[in-house]
Amino acid sequence: MKLYLKIWRQFDASSKGEMTDYEIDEVSEHMSFLEMLDLLNEILIQQGERVIEFDHDCREGICGQCGVMINGRAHGPLRNTTTCQLHMRSFKDGDTIYIEPFRAKAFPVLRDLKINRKAFDTIIASGGFIGASTGQAPEANSIPISYETAEEAFDAAACIGCGACVASCKNASAALFVGAKITHLTLLPQGKVEAPKRAINMVKQMDLQGFGNCSDTRACEIECPQGISVLSIAKMNLEYMKALAFRK
């Protein structure tokens, strides 16, 4: 099929970017979206032009490194699907596709479609862990955890840290990302000891990184490739309020 692409090109964080037009032929429906971009880059190299920079790595939907806005939607039209898992059979001959980076104040553009998501790492560093150092662990089965609790914790732990939630939110809020980590760790008995400190520190760090507030539009849940529930945001709020109320 033939496609008309409008792709965001921006040299670096301080330059002004713009949408640039490209046409591409011979796209097969079996190609992944990123393989289509590979093909375009191959053509640009033949023409001696600088390639379109985009982030990607595992290409199987788990590393969280890829992610662009496709026709205004994070990771494109399919639900629960990362950009790398989107295939061209979701498009048809003659389509025009708009491709832009995930946009947020806390995610500055590095070049073209590549962005800087260090803000997420910084939030995790502020409290997104159970502080068990190597060597301290008790026997694994000494902490029974019900099947349901383990599954619920897993649902939240499945977050891949791609940033689609932030890019989809009109406030560029990271509430789903932070809520998912708080939910994962706080549901588990091992994670309860640090729960109050974790909630306060992570919420504070989220604000410091320049993410907006949650106004409950729930766009994040719709676009999350792992289908993480907005209930984790409620859980974050609950843990945060509890921590504040009982703070000594």
Binding site: D12, S28, M31, S32, E35, D38, I45, G48, R50, V51, E53, D57, C58, R59, E60, G61, I62, C63, G64, Q65, T81, Q85, H87, L110, R111, N116, R117, K118, F120, D121, I124, A125, G128, F129, I130, G131, A132, S133, T134, G135, Q136, A137, P138, E139, A140, N141, P144, I145, S146, Y147, A150, E151, A153, F154, A157, A158, I160, G161, H184, L188
Partner: protein
């Protein structure tokens, strides 16, 4: 130079003996020592976090935008541990034996025993970190079975075990970063090892955001940079996986061992076209319930569901009745290739086999199968558009894991003092074939439980040696070498992209140094690789400049892959036997089983770099078996 340093005493006491005698560094002195860790996968992140917890200063490097992206994240099926929670006869010795046998008796007894011995502690630690492993209804940890074993010792977190273990290690790493003990250098790529007075003392790294070359000095360097299966281009690996850190250390004097021992995963998705960049893995755990078959009649074009039962060949169950669909990976992959080559392949390109769940769905119900594998079935449908609850999956073998890597001694130190290699980057534990769910284990055990003892043992001797800084001529020289290479890539002005060369070397290796090898093919391959190298030097085209430039990054990785490919062929050519994943067509039984040659090849092949276009030099480390008897590895 190659001393394995295996401690004295009975097998089960060796590690305890080592730990009891290892030198320690006083807590006050630890903060005077810096360790560079390249890679933030399970091995790198766990090592960096554990050493930082002890009080050392860590500089952690990864080429991805965050440590959490490292390719350990993609491991699906699980992690093995000899907990014997199922009371089904498991023990440290049993796990050790399965791993040694699975590796076709081409690994060190002492290393493998230690791996099994430390496995239980890993599960304890991961649970303490909050890894949400699968549970039974009573709240205790659940297990499943994996290829090549007859007990249930695999712990799992749905089909995302690697992700969950990695998040545990990543969070531990970030915790130390917040405490100021780890400096995180993300989007940095190691491009040279700096060796001073024969010891590893630092690296040259390129900041991938700016293109700037940086000098980093340390008291020890750890490479935990993963495997090089991506040399085959089409593989289950991430696009950025590369051999560069390992290869550049090799060219600085570190030996490479078992280089051509590459595992082809039996259950990946088949190739469908020329522009494909990746062969996605479907977890081996699917083989617990899926049955593998091809049509009995060659070139049978009928739809899978319309081929009656009696016309299906369940070839693994037929050839290996006691292990059936859970035969080890090398054997399953080779059996698939045999059927495909004989004309029984299925799918549009006739390059696949069926993995069929219809019997399991009938016996257990769709809900049960969905609960076990829903994410894999969903992923399969996303990629292929096919619903595997209704028709069998199409799968085929794909390049996956490198058993080979940097040669290391019992302490995980390479032939360069002060340079350690952990996880898939080393050659140590898997012999000629790795068992499923042992790679996460090895990466974690290396990083959490071994390196935190062996690296301090080395550092204790470094406290009172001369300290170097980044103005030392060795740094100057290393940086200049890197800069010259980058300039050359940017100014070659040829016509062919880096990917062109990558695809070319990948195809060549699949054909001539892949699932099966022969003297004739390997000799041809070496000549062709040299031709490709000459072409790469004059025909490469890199657009853009020396700032942020993904094409320039690729060029360096592919230059290294081309050289590595040549060594892989030498390694495969020299080893005139079939063992594990290394199948030499000349050495097989009449019914196509591998023939190992313990008389002549019961050793580790470690290769020394001798310079461009020179033949590498072979060093042999004899493998001595005291606890097990060398046996023909049969799964029949």
């Amino acid at each position: 130079m190659m001393e394995s340093k295996i401690p004295e005493g009975p097998l089960s006491e060796k590690w305890n003996t080592y730990k009891a005698k290892a030198k320690l560094v006083n807590p006050a002195n630890r903060k005077k020592l810096t360790i560079i860790v390249v890679g933030t996968g399970l091995a790198g992140a766990s090592c960096a976090a554990s050493l930082a917890e002890q009080g050392y200063n860590i500089k952690s490097f990864c080429f991805q935008d965050s440590p959490r992206r490292a390719h350990s994240v993609a491991a699906q099926g699980g992690v093995n541990a000899a907990k014997n929670y199922k009371n089904d006869g498991d023990s440290t010795f049993r796990m050790f034996y399965d791993t040694i046998k699975g590796g076709d008796f081409r690994s060190r007894e002492a290393n493998v025993y230690r791996l099994a011995e430390c496995s239980a502690a890993l599960i304890d630690h991961a649970v303490a970190q909050g890894v949400p492993f699968a549970r039974e209804y009573a709240g205790y940890l659940n297990n499943r079975s994996f290829g090549g074993v007859q007990v249930s010792r695999t712990f799992y977190a749905r089909g995302q075990t690697g992700q969950q273990l990695l998040l545990g290690a990543y969070q531990a790493l970030e915790r130390q970063a917040a405490l100021g003990k780890v400096a995180l250098c993300t989007r940095h790529e190691m491009l040279e090892l700096v060796v001073i007075d024969g010891k590893a003392k630092g690296i040259i790294a390129r900041n991938l955001e700016t293109g700037k070359l940086e000098r980093h000095v340390a008291d020890a360097v750890v490479l935990a940079s993963g495997g090089y299966g991506k040399v085959y281009y089409l593989s289950t690996l991430a696009m950025g996986c590369n051999s560069s850190a390992v290869w550049r250390a090799h060219k600085k004097g570190a030996f490479m061992a078992g280089v051509s021992w590459i595992q082809f995963h039996p259950t990946s998705l088949p190739q469908h076209g020329e522009n494909q960049s990746k062969l996605t893995l479907m977890s081996e755990s699917l083989r617990n319930d899926g049955r593998i078959w091809v049509p009995k009649r060659a070139n049978d074009d009928r739809n899978a569901n319309s081929i009656p039962e009696e016309e299906r060949d369940y070839y693994l169950e037929r050839r290996y009745p006691s292990f059936g669909n859970l035969a080890p990976r090398d054997i399953s992959s080779r059996a698939a290739k045999e059927r495909i080559d004989a004309g029984h392949g299925v799918g549009p390109m006739k390059n696949a086999i069926y993995l069929d769940f219809s019997d399991a769905i009938k016996a257990q119900g769709k809900d049960t199968i969905e609960a076990k594998y829903s994410n894999l079935f969903t992923m399969y449908e996303k990629i292929t558009g096919i619903n595997a609850y209704k028709e069998p999956m199409l799968i085929s073998p794909s390049a996956h894991f490198t058993m080979g890597g940097l040669w290391v001694d019992y302490e995980l130190m390479t032939t360069i003092p002060g340079l350690f290699a952990l996880g898939e980057a080393n050659f140590a534990d898997h012999g000629a074939n790795r068992l499923g769910a042992n790679s996460l284990l090895q990466a974690c055990v290396d990083g959490y439980f071994i390196a935190p003892y062996t690296i301090p043992n080395y550092l204790a001797g470094e406290l009172n040696t001369t300290k170097f800084d980044i103005d030392h001529p060795a740094f100057e020289e290393a940086e200049n070498a890197v800069r010259r290479q980058l300039d050359r890539f940017l100014h070659t002005n040829g016509t062919l992209s880096a990917d062109y060369f990558h695809k070319k070397i990948g195809r060549l290796l699949y054909e001539k140094c892949g699932l099966s090898r022969s003297r004739k093919n390997l000799e041809e391959a070496i000549i062709e690789i040299r031709e490709l190298k000459a072409s790469f030097e004059k025909d490469l085209r890199i657009t853009g400049d020396n700032t942020l430039n993904s094409e320039l990054e690729k060029a360096g990785r592919i230059a290294d892959y081309i050289e590595l490919a040549e060594l892989m062929c030498y390694d495969a050519l020299q080893r005139e036997e079939s063992c594990g994943a290394h199948f030499r067509e000349e050495y097989q039984t009449p019914d196509g089983e591998a023939v190992r040659n313990d008389e002549e090849f019961c050793y580790v092949s470690a290769w020394e770099w001798k310079g461009q276009n020179k033949e590498p030099e072979l060093h042999k480390e004899p493998l001595v078996f005291e606890a097990v008897e060398l046996a023909v590895r049969s799964y029949k």
